[in-house]
């Protein structure tokens, strides 16, 4: 079996196994898995409205997935997407609320603010990794909590002690009458276009620029890259900054598109963590991220239909996602089994 085929088979098998485990858990806890997955399916594709909402849900997952994947390609593990997303969400909403400008300036400004905030949040672990060799995993986890508490405090300051900001001015909104009408008045917004454009941007950076080549080289082998005269430290920082910018944009999607405000949070949104799953499933390629985000965005949105339609807690989908990540991470054993199966087939012939 070719390497490429196993590369694609591992995620596919993982997804199937994840859904199977989900079915078993539903069965054991006294629910009907068929009914459950039917509710999930209808929650994703039921009608034009749900399809619109599903695509809306996919939007931030695309960007969060890109963020994780981009860092991965440079050999970095960015668990901080969650925090970068939160600061991006706040920055975009703040710019949307604080001033009113012509749309042509206001909207790009708000989006840019989110990207910059996320980039800044990615810069810290990048810098520490480059200068002090501090592992980025722990720093980004800590930065997540700092982002959560700081953004909550800022929201309280901005809203004079309230739990959420005002709605953003229409001039900063990503709202689209066209897309809404197309999907029976769902909250689908122009963010999806931005997200897909960023998929193209990531592909372009990685495949068509010197920077991308260097980033990938550093990801493969730092020492060799150093020896070849590349500035490894600069590349580590840049990779984290760009990754953070993608994550910040994911926050902008929530701030300017879906919610049009930012509220203080009792816990994490989970989008950043799911971004890890999206990237893993997509083999850290831009196109793969599109598939991963589509799957997870759909699962997440479709799950909302499960309590009503089948009486099953929505967490079942999160269990499925966790199991998928588990199996993707354990890809070695799946590869091994595939190889054995292939060898047996050869013998039989």
């Amino acid at each position: 079996m070719s390497n490429r085929a196993t590369n694609i088979l591992v995620p596919v098998i993982s997804v199937i196994l994840g859904l199977l485990v989900g079915a078993v858990i539903m069965l054991v806890s006294g629910y009907d898995p068929l009914e459950g997955y039917a509710a999930l399916w209808n929650g994703i594709f039921g009608d034009l409205y749900t399809i619109g909402e599903t695509v809306r849900q996919i939007t931030p997952y695309l960007l969060a997935g890109l963020a994780v994947a981009f860092a991965f390609r440079s050999g970095l593990f960015n668990i901080g997407v969650e925090g970068q997303l939160i600061v991006g969400w706040f920055a975009a909403a703040y710019v949307g609320v604080a001033v009113e400008l012509p749309k042509i300036i206001h909207l790009p400004l708000a989006i840019l603010a989110a990207a910059v905030a996320g980039a800044l949040w990615g810069f810290v672990p990048g810098l520490l990794k480059a200068k002090f060799h501090v592992h980025e995993v722990i720093v980004t986890i800590m930065m997540n909590y700092i982002a959560l508490h700081v953004s909550n405090a800022l929201i309280r300051t901005v809203s004079d002690g309230g739990d959420r900001t005002e709605n953003i001015f229409a001039s900063a909104s990503l709202r689209s009458d066209f897309l809404e009408e197309l999907t029976d008045f769902s909250r689908l917004h122009y963010g999806i276009i931005i997200a897909l454009a960023m998929v193209g941007v990531m592909w372009f950076i990685l495949e068509k620029t010197t920077l991308g080549f260097e980033l990938k080289a550093v990801g493969f082998n730092q020492n060799a890259s150093q020896y070849a005269g590349m500035n490894v430290n600069k590349n580590i920082i840049l990779a984290m900054v760009i990754s953070g910018a993608f994550a910040g944009l994911a926050g902008a999607m929530e701030a300017l598109g879906t919610f049009e405000y930012v509220s203080s949070k009792g816990g994490f949104t989970g989008i950043g963590f799911d971004g890890i799953a999206v990237a893993l499933l997509g083999l850290n390629t831009p196109l793969g991220v599109v598939f991963g985000a589509t799957l997870f965005g759909s699962l997440k949105y479709g799950a909302l239909n499960m309590p009503n339609a089948a009486g099953i807690p929505i967490e079942i989908v999160e269990i499925v996602i966790a199991v998928i990540i588990f199996f993707v991470a354990s890809g070695y054993i799946i590869r091994l089994l595939l190889l054995r199966a292939a060898a047996k087939k050869k013998e039989a012939k």
Partner: protein
């Protein structure tokens, strides 16, 4: 409020918040000393907290006052089982240990709330009725200064946590088992050559980390929140992970760091009633432990070296 009054107020509360962190951080020390990164501590703690509360609610009538302690045992077993998943993935299946840990965290959070909703029909459990009781240690609590600081209205669980830290230190640094554990984490190939079963050592270490994290989680839920919902263990496991690093992968260091984080946490909660501290915006106290961890990691508080083979699967025969 005099300085001593402030201390009387804050030290017991710091110890109270630190107890679960100590146990979980020590669990992390065991796992990472053997070379297995355990980001999943948060998830293991969540399962411990959930099973602790569940057991307590189900069996409070049967076991009465012993319920919380028995709940610790149940929580320990549940988290141990979950940690086996991490062990299988990261030791036998050669998974990326960080990714596997992330999966454990997601799984624990989702599974526990799924079960809460299935069993209780709502997102939050009821409050437990059988709790650990606070008490004054006889004689010791009468000692001036020391008594009110450490021995007045305390939980047994706090003493238990501190005792575990010393036992862990003894086990890791003074027993043959500990020597093997450290060898496996520093240089698995050398350890293997000496006839140590690397895989088995790592499995045992991860299971110990699961057991301790489970107990820590159950202590947290049964002393601090008294019920279980999605926000019960909000980052405590990561805080413990930070304490482990801050304490330089040493059990007593981890305990010290956990006590300090407990202090920081209690400051953000009781700080509003203490002069001067009440004037600091709460957010600074909330982010203090995380910022300190980053600073500590950056090497401003002396170099800390993780076990050499930490995070790398051991593949026999590979150099």
């Amino acid at each position: 409020m005099s300085f001593l009054d402030v201390l009387y107020f804050i030290v017991p509360s710091a110890i109270f918040y630190a107890a679960p962190l100590i146990l979980v951080a020590i669990g992390g020390v065991f796992s990472e000393k053997s070379g297995v990164v355990n980001i999943g501590l948060e998830g293991l703690m969540v399962i411990g907290a959930f099973v602790g509360i569940l057991f307590n609610l189900l069996f409070a009538d049967t076991f009465g006052g012993a319920t919380p302690w028995l709940a610790l045992v149940a929580a320990m077993l549940a988290a141990l089982l979950l940690s086996l998943l991490h062990a299988v993935a990261s030791i036998s299946f050669r998974a990326d240990q960080v990714v596997s840990g992330v999966a454990i965290n997601l799984l624990a959070a989702a599974l526990s709330i799924y079960l809460v909703k299935s069993i209780f029909g709502k997102g939050q459990t009821d409050f437990i009725t059988e709790r650990f009781s606070r008490y004054n240690v006889p004689f010791l609590s009468d000692i001036p200064v020391i008594g009110p600081l450490f021995f007045k209205s305390v939980y047994n669980t706090s003493f238990f946590a501190i005792a575990v830290a010393f036992v862990a230190w003894f086990v890791i640094y003074k027993t043959p088992f500990g020597l093997r554990l450290r060898a496996v984490g520093e240089h698995p190939m050398a350890a293997d050559t000496m006839g140590i079963n690397v895989t088995r050592m790592r499995y045992v270490a991860v299971m110990i980390s699961g057991a301790l994290a489970g107990v820590g989680g159950a202590i947290y839920s049964q002393t601090i929140t008294n019920d279980f919902g999605h926000a019960t263990i909000n980052g405590q496991g990561f805080m413990a992970l930070a304490a482990m690093i801050f304490g330089k992968w040493h059990p007593l260091g981890a305990m010290g760091a956990a006590l300090f984080f407990g202090f920081a946490q209690s400051l953000s909660i009781v700080g509003s009633r203490i002069p001067y501290i009440s004037e600091i915006p709460n957010v600074f106290l909330l982010i203090l432990p995380y910022v300190l961890t980053i600073i500590a990691l950056a090497g401003f508080i002396g170099r800390a070296n993780a076990p050499l083979a930490n995070g790398k699967p051991y593949i026999k025969g590979q150099r």
